[in-house]
């Protein structure tokens, strides 16, 4: 990620996934900013987290500017709402020119379309389904 020694990552959504990512990346030495609409969400962050917190709705560009998104190497959109993740991801790409943008999308039907729009998506639904099927196949071949 560029020539910088420590990459800078903005994480939108401080739920279970966002908080886990923030803690991990922070321990690995990344400069992390976490954004959530609710202050209370930051309670999910573990003691290892050493980054910044921004309270606000990431659908507002003002909030993304507060998170210094223009200087980020990567944005991860991990809120519980697909449409928020997809909008934030597109704004990060088009307005803030963030080099790497990843968005969680639950609904596989949406995922496909956003891939055509150039958004890199991660679908827990597809991932879990794949894992279930893989293990089931392993089980079946064993018996």
């Amino acid at each position: 990620m560029g020539n910088k020694t420590s990459p800078s990552v903005v994480i939108v959504g401080c739920g279970r996934l966002g908080a886990l990512l923030a803690g991990e990346l922070s321990r690995e030495g990344a400069r992390v900013v976490v954004v959530d609409r609710f202050e209370a969400a930051f309670a999910q962050l573990d003691a290892g987290f050493s980054g910044f917190r921004v309270t606000g709705d990431a659908v507002e560009q003002r909030v993304l500017r507060l998170a210094n998104l223009d200087r980020a190497d990567c944005l991860m959109a991990t809120t519980e709402k697909d449409t928020v993740n997809l909008m934030v991801a597109q704004v990060a790409k088009t307005v803030f020119a963030v080099p790497r943008v990843l968005a969680r999308v639950y609904d596989p039907a949406r995922e496909e379309m956003y891939r055509t729009l150039g958004v890199e998506t991660i679908s827990p639904t597809s991932l879990s389904a794949g894992e279930f099927l893989r293990r089931f196949a392993g089980e079946a071949s064993r018996s």
Binding site: Q61, M87, L117
Partner: protein, 222 residues
């Protein structure tokens, strides 16, 4: 022609009613079952209860045969999703979104929403421009606020009273579209003399509006 309205609340109801009355083939999508039943009863429109940001719901609403989709939900991200799904997946030629954060208007255009309307921006534009000019009876912003149409009352002491229009040098980007005199509408011509009590339909770009109003009414904005 077919229009899909996705949203909730009063704006959805009034638009559905208006389109239905005009005989437009309109389909309404609203998240709540109760609101859907109520809307269908009151407007006679075909209403579907569902999440319009879900591609399957838009498909069910007939997006493949729609020429316009209006996204009127309270959240910007949902309206963007509706317009993008309609435009990209179902090739709907025209998508219109309501935008709350005025800053999002620009990005919606960049992301291929045909028209993004920020009520916040239009209303504040109207209030800012109207402040100080008491003679303006009505004003509306058109073309996403690039032009405004105002109705201006000429009082007896207004400098433009008694002048033929050709003597009136309106700023470059301003134009008189009509003169309402009593119950008649006059088409402005060079020889038309303005009278006290005339109501002028002024069409102007925001930059020229104030100069045009000063010229016609003599009022300084405060």
């Amino acid at each position: 022609m077919k229009v899909i309205l996705a949203g909730s609340g009063k704006i959805l109801y009034y638009l559905a009613r208006q389109f239905s009355r005009r005989g437009v083939d309109v389909r309404v999508v609203t998240p709540s079952e109760d609101e859907a039943r109520e809307l269908s009863r009151r407007t006679g429109a075909a209403v579907l209860a569902g999440d319009a940001t879900d591609p399957r719901v838009l498909y069910e609403a007939g997006a493949l045969r729609a020429h316009t989709v209006l996204a009127l939900l309270p959240n910007d991200e949902d309206n963007l999703a509706i317009c993008q799904i309609a435009g990209r997946m179902y090739r709907v030629p025209r998508t219109i979104a309501l935008v709350n954060d005025p800053e999002n208007e620009e990005i919606f255009h960049q992301l291929q929403v045909t028209t993004a309307i920020s009520a916040t921006r239009i209303l504040s534009l109207i209030i800012e421009e109207q402040a100080g000019f008491e003679e303006i009876a009505r004003m509306m912003a058109v073309g996403d606020g690039a032009v405004s149409v105002s109705e201006v009352l000429l009082r007896e002491d207004a400098p433009a009273v008694g002048l033929p229009l050709k003597k009136l040098t309106l700023p470059e980007e301003a134009l008189l579209g009509g003169i309402i005199r009593g119950d008649k509408v006059l088409i402005p011509k060079g020889g038309t003399h303005l009278q006290a009590g005339d109501r002028l339909i002024l069409i102007a770009a925001p930059a020229s509006l104030e100069a045009a109003l000063r010229l016609l009414t003599g009022e300084e904005s405060r």
